[in-house]
Symmetry: D2
Subunit: 337 residues, 4 copies
């Protein structure tokens, strides 16, 4: 932590700031410049509330110089985290595609779509059984029946399956059927749920909260890592900004930023980010070009009748064309899709 | 729902759009102008996904013309909702103050602070027992022991008590001790928790999510109202913007906006919004001048040693001065504090 | 400037960073902690691009510890800047009201409104002659004729006058008629215009850009101060956020923040911030309660026929009532309106 | 324009709203549903202030159904605008690269860099002569000398040249040397400058304002188009959001959105968006994958000593590698770079 003192601060006030820092357990270094005095406070206190120093008299500014997360940082682990689910390895040189409908609606629906995505080259099947809906009057998912259908479709077509869990009380149930837990954007800071997921031994994909900074996102990963589960990946799905032409603003720069700050794999979900089918394709290509470790896209054979988010689902032929382009783009940057 | 068609659209395409609308159960009215044709689709479908129409050929734009919430709207209930907790009525002409520490830390602490806030004129004691913390390494609250101490302090000084609940599994426990449930900003869209709170018979205060629009905030209220609990109030606590000089941007305009759109009371929490003590006081005054139905402020007799958020807590003498100013400002606008 | 080095950095790389800093003219202090080495680089280079250091190998983070502005800072000048225009002093204990129509439309209009605002207690008359309009097809203002009418109305009723200048080429013309230059939000970073205004000897009010941080806003003030004109005030008028219920989000916390960082007076303009008349009044009261040094409100005797921004203009009776409340609120916080 | 009336509105109030609309020149259609009455107001008034209707009694909501721009819309012109500068055509199937230093610093510098970018395959040379700087103390550019050097380098290597113009008074001077005018993000709503550029016969590239919506951006294009200059292109360079890990948030979704709404070409500038060299390359690739009509990147042979924005400039070998990847990605989507 760095403390910048006000110009012309009295010796007494400097002493007071140093005493406080030492009381909080820091070792203090003082640098005296021509114009300004700066204190460096060293000591491992990742959660120290810097405002405690900021409110002392004579303090001009306080900077935290260590990242608030530790286990999630590239400094802690240099090599990329590789998450193995059967034959699939996320975080490797492969660009892995997760595809499927927004929600599991029926056996026929999930079987039909699983077949399509397998054909297109996806490795993991997505499909919601518990749906977070902003309206209490909307379709809320099939619950356990949905989980069973998802599992059945995965087994039938040799696909791993991922589905959302919304509540600590659901973790055990979901674990019976899914290979990967999806933590939704609205639950990114649901701390009881994060802790519960940390106790499982299945991979977790954390969607970025709509207004979460990259550091906060990695702090949520830290919760799971600190509880003992090392298989964490993150998923960019758009942030909320002033622009309303798209559902969210797809922050693709997060891909190189995460790769620099952390060893965790990053997936990109253009379907939720832009919300309309014809913009999903260019954004999916862009995500792979930007270095994403995986793609998550919604696919539906009959989107006009989908119970949820139909307008953002790709049609089968669009999905095949996209997968073809994605393979070629991955190759250009030395990866495999 | 209003559908604006593209200029020069063919009759066939118009028919196709109308047929889709009718299939979805809408009654359609067509208005033909010199330049453009507009369709009005009427029918009660609050959750219809307008993108289903937006993706049809020849459609230029689609507008939802009904608010997504119903029970929370001023149209549904003209008179203000009044929430009674003992002698206190929130949503009346009174401006009610909720005060206390960020977290319950010890019996001595909560008793000392309860005495101070009672003296200052607050009616409700706040204090967290379960704390949502962005870091897994931070103080997480005293749990049930904290709830007991909070209750004891409330009873001793004749104050109602409010505390945060973070998990559907905690609702029953918290209900044993608290008079009002606080739903934190990070849980504003925790739908299982909202549904659980809807089944209780105690008032709920919903803090605005950091990136929640006012309509989404009222949709969260709708969840609780739709589950049968009518005693809902909302609490503005700052939104996330590009400005970083304050912890959040305190959106005081939300006060008149909520009063226009909804019959639910609105409380203002300047402590979390601005995050530093010396800015809490002017913002608290401003909130009352803007018409807030209540204030929520953090007070601590020894903020330097507070385990959580000390720097934003008011000192006792600051709190007394603020309460004095608040009373006078309330009077100017014909209210009582 | 503070440079945080990566853990385990080699001595060679440390030397390289230090050499670069010294080449750029800084004096370097090194603090070695258990886990991390921190460098303090001291030297007066307000505009040094910190990324030049951030890209060096072994550098983990770089923090600028001095504010980018100097003349505008409270550190440079402890006492509030007081701007005198005739009998009016902005930045004193008085809360000064600026009122008038959005645009000067006719002699009758400006005379009628000037009379009303004088009666209500305003000291300064506003009215646009050159209007910045997002559409090329909108009313663009009366130009010099508007300036003449504004001056005439000000002289007739003993009011100072303020009006917007949009272009360096207009400065001389506007200076002939106005007492105060208004720099619009869209021109906050029009640097040629800032420089030109710095050469005049009339006060300038800088509206905050829609996406300007408080520091950038003060940097614009710095441009004028550095060019020799000391009479600068700033005006909060709302920032752009994700919330669309109001035209902009009125950032009232900027008032205590500016008062802490700078000696310049701050005016609040609720009319542009919220954009609808019935929300202007509570927000105007809130601004005074938050400590604004002045208010700017739009008033129109016939807003339904106003050529610009009629819906946000207060009716005369609303203005009188507001002024009455403002006087009382100012008194509560020890000021005079 | 669509007007949604309040439920249970009286006939008298309906008549009043209709009368106002007709007075403003609209033709009104009334649709009466079970629950709600909707009015459609038809008539060509692109700049009508919808708040004039919103404030009438009994009005619940007002929607503008026509886009505020006309000449810039895809509805007005179906085919893409193609801008020819010598042999280069922007807006065609070619993906055009604009490259060069942030600022022209010396003859040696601009000649060296022009040679490099020519070799890499760029068609247009960029370089600032007048620099918009947030600080009055920063390097402000070489002025006319810079323009002369830029022209000389362009001529020497057969490259068109683009440079920023900041002030209506500079337009004539810049036109003497440049092939394309660049309008900076901070000047996107500098209306006098937009009008002046509309009177020239040289292409204009409009950078998106940091907080400009896509519609506002196209409105700025509309200003130039309406003044008679048809050669307008837009340039995405990042928007301001809450995320601070990158300089701005690069809104790549704007590319498919602009292509749908408008016929104008869109260029992507990853250098300003992300601000650090190592993130520029993946974002440049992503922009081409997303369908950009051109790229603008900063290149410098000696970025450590660049007078402005050195840290975001690509090194020559990075530029060559990027150009190679860009060519291959363009091919995958059926274009040529």
């Amino acid at each position: 932590m760095i403390i910048v003192l006000e110009k012309g601060i009295s010796d007494e006030k400097i002493e007071n700031v140093i005493r406080h820092l030492e009381d909080y357990g820091f070792t203090v270094h003082k640098s005296t410049g021509e114009e300004q005095i700066i204190l460096g406070a060293i000591g491992i206190q990742p959660n120290f509330d810097t405002r405690k120093i900021k409110i002392l008299e004579g303090v001009s500014a306080v900077y935290r110089v260590t990242e608030p997360f530790r286990l999630a940082s590239r400094g802690y682990q240099k090599e990329n985290t590789k998450i193995k689910i059967g034959d699939v390895v996320i975080g490797s040189n492969d660009v892995v595609t997760i595809a499927g409908p927004c929600a599991v609606e029926s056996e026929e629906q999930i079987m039909t779509i699983a077949k399509i995505i397998k054909e297109g080259g996806a490795k993991i099947l997505r499909g919601g059984a518990f749906k977070p809906r902003t309206s209490p009057y909307s379709f809320q998912g099939l619950g356990e029946d949905g989980l069973k259908l998802l599992r059945k479709a995965g087994d039938e077509f040799g696909l791993a399956v991922i589905t959302e869990v919304m509540d600590p009380g659901q973790v055990e149930l979901v674990a019976k059927y899914a290979d990967i837990f999806q933590l939704g954007a609205r639950n990114m800071q649901n701390f009881p749920l994060l802790r519960e997921l940390g106790k499982t031994n299945k991979p977790v994909m954390i969607k970025r909260g709509m207004s979460a900074t990259i550091d906060e996102w990695l702090m949520s990963a830290e919760y799971i890592l600190a509880s003992g589960n090392k298989d964490v990946m993150v998923c960019e799905r758009g942030i909320r900004t002033f622009e309303t032409s798209t559902r969210n603003t797809f922050d693709l720069s997060a891909i190189p930023v995460i790769h620099k700050k952390s060893h965790l794999p990053i997936i990109a979900d253009p379907s939720h980010a832009v919300g309309i089918r014809d913009k999903v394709i260019p954004m999916a290509r862009a995500a792979v070009a930007a270095g994403a470790d995986g793609l998550m896209v919604e696919v539906h054979h009959d989107p006009a009748d989908a119970l949820s988010d139909g307008p953002q689902a790709l049609l089968p032929e669009q999905f095949f064309e996209l997968m073809d382009q994605v393979k070629k783009i991955a190759e250009i940057i030395g990866r495999k899709a």
